[in-house]
Symmetry: C2
Subunit: 102 residues, 2 copies
Amino acid sequence: MARLVVMYKTPQDAAAFDKHYFEKHVAIAKKIPGVRKYEVSQGAVTSPMGGTNYHLVAILEFDNVAAIQNAFASAEGQAAVADVQTFATGGVDIFMFDSRQV
Amino acid sequence: MARLVVMYKTPQDAAAFDKHYFEKHVAIAKKIPGVRKYEVSQGAVTSPMGGTNYHLVAILEFDNVAAIQNAFASAEGQAAVADVQTFATGGVDIFMFDSRQV
């Protein structure tokens, strides 16, 4: 199993971000080849110290990191990346790694 | 469902970190009440741009954010936090949020 963790920083307009994310981006991202599961944070992204500068976190599951790399290289992956650039006005941090249950 | 994402920055001694994490910390963390699933990155934590300053990422599943807050307040949670402070020599970023499949 591998994880793609997409962490969106607080955007300029949170309501506009959410509208675009849920009405458009989710459908675009679901077309990316190799996505096994796709979950999105609800409500605030917090830390034990309190608030954070992140607005929304998406965690996607793939078979392995190679599948994530193939996904980014695909037309559907490039479409998702292009879409992100239209609404992620606060910036985005992206991490990927193989993962296993312990 | 809720997620606790624990992101360890590159430590001073990666081998010592890994030894402590897998030989001691996993067992301590598994005792935290309310943990439903617990997964840990394997190999490098990367980004589409290349490397990152993170060494290891743990993703834990709980029923909801309230359960995570209760976990941090528990004796077992406090023991896990105290243990982290002994080996997370690069620092750690912690995030929590309710989450749902989309």
